[in-house]
């Protein structure tokens, strides 16, 4: 019998995870920082050339960088609170005493399990100007049809709506789990004290849900900063670059233009943005412990 000390065994057990993380995260992060200081374009065929901060300089002067970053921030600022409110609403509805639980559960799970790219395609079809169901419903109420994807603002609104739909059900599942851990006795006591439903919501439900909501919000914020699939499928970033996100711009520079140096500099910005959010997250977790 091979009898290793606990310490040697621990090293051995953690090694596969450590190797994978080094190969797919640690080394690439270092490489990312490194490449961002080089001019490296695979289309030119030239070898990498050290250019210092030139990529960053280019970036600051690049209006598309600012536009896509602004779009990303705007999407985050709209869809994260949006998903929270819709998710909270759905969770409160789902927490009612239904005879059957599974249809409710399933209706929250299906949007979660649907790939983002599929959701983008489905909603592009929803918002289709000629045969889309959204314009059909508008027409039934007497409104004229809207060409959603020709106008930057309408296209942006359609994208945000889609993201909120797609992400709110996960939020709802997290909040629902939180709701179900709140003891009934708290509400019964509040009833005895004569507190109404609305006061109970703000003084019992919300405070007790806070920890679950905070964690869900942070995860949602980090994924919102990476928004790619839904705008890519719905508008391809158009009209022009009015609905393109930073992730789409990184993808375009890397995969379409093969400009790895510039793509890296863009990615460093996104990395920094999301590290800020992660730092807040770790801080919250630590204060909780």
């Amino acid at each position: 019998m091979l009898d290793l000390s606990d310490r040697a065994l621990a090293v051995l057990l953690l090694a596969p995870a450590a190797i994978l993380l080094s190969l797919i995260i640690v080394y690439p992060v270092l490489r990312l920082l490194y490449t961002s200081f080089f001019s490296l374009s695979l289309t030119s065929g030239l070898p990498a050339e050290f250019v210092g901060l030139e990529n960053y300089q280019l970036m600051i002067e690049d209006p598309v960088f600012w536009e896509t970053t602004w779009n990303t921030v705007l999407i985050t600022l709209i869809t994260v609170p949006g998903a929270l409110f819709v998710g909270l609403g759905l969770a409160l509805l789902a927490n009612l005493p239904f005879g059957m639980q599974w249809p409710v559960r399933l209706s929250l799970l299906i949007p979660w399990a649907l790939p983002l790219s599929f959701a983008g395609l489905i909603f592009a079809w929803f918002f289709h100007s000629e045969y889309g169901v959204v314009n059909d419903v508008l027409a039934r109420f007497g409104f004229p049809g809207v060409i959603w994807f020709n106008s930057p603002n309408l296209a942006f609104a359609a994208i945000c709506l889609t993201i909120v739909w797609k992400t709110s059900s996960f939020m709802a599942l997290i909040i629902l789990a939180g709701l179900q851990t709140i003891p009934r006795s708290l509400y019964e006591a509040a009833d005895v004290d004569g507190a109404g439903r609305i006061r109970q919501f703000f003084e019992i439900t919300l405070p007790l849900l806070k920890p679950a909501i905070v964690v869900a919000l942070i995860f949602r914020t980090i994924t919102a900063l990476q928004t790619f699939d839904i705008p890519f499928m719905m508008t391809g970033g158009g009209p022009g670059t009015s609905t393109a996100t930073l992730a789409m711009y990184i993808h375009q520079n890397t995969v379409s233009f093969l400009d790895l140096g510039y793509g890296s500099a863009l990615a460093v910005v996104m990395f920094a943005l999301s590290m800020c959010v992660t730092a807040v997250y770790l801080r919250i977790i630590r204060t909780k412990e």
Partner: protein
Amino acid sequence: MSQVAASGANSFFSGKPLRFIAATILLVNGMFPALWILFTSLKTEAELTVKPITWLPHTPTLANYMQAFSDQPLHVFLFNSFMVALLSTCLTLLVSVLAAYALARLNLKYRGLILSLIIAVSTFPLVTLLVPLFEIMRALNLLNTWIALILPYTVLSLPVCTLMLVSFFEGIPRDLENAAMIDGCTRMGALFKVVVPLCAPGVFTAGILAFVNAWDEFLLALSFNSNPALRTLPVGIQLYQGEFAFPWPVISAALVVGIVPVAILIVIFQERVVSGLTSGGIKG
């Protein structure tokens, strides 16, 4: 009973009409998009261009499904998606079971630090590594292979699965393992013969989450595998759109085919998935 008597508002909140409205909102919100795609996929091209548009298909047809499989190698996309998701799930489970066992059972000096690191990695934006991963896969000649996707997908789910498994393993009494070890099992033997079987539901739940994560991923699949024979479903579906034409009924049929496998998984294991999602979410 006292609750119902308490106020008029309360009887509305627990009343039948409200429950009916609530159920309708929840079901329409959750199911309508998928149902709409199903309806579209059953319509003929002629019915699709009728205005005002029809909701339910008048002359349902499966022709779009035939066309979805004949226009593009949909079965190949499905196979690629399935294999990439399955293999990365297996790898994720193997690696995270080992790591989680070390974190749950062996008294590690840096346990807190390692757990914080795992949490930090769980929020890592994989998008930002597009360039270096592209370079690495290119240098290793792995572009247009399953491996180019399996490795990143494994890392994508590794943190959440590890954290979930740590909490499952901590719920197993140590005595059971100790008994097995006294009977001559090694620690590894005890892990795979006692702990993992006892945690089978947890391991399985972690596996479903990893599978869905991999099945859904789009950006890396789009960037690393351009060869049609190696495309996964989300990437392959793009091939249906022509330069100017957008054959919505055929695309809808392909989408339905892509939704069904995961939908089946979700329908069968819904309770487990919910508990996995929410425990992972709340604990980070």
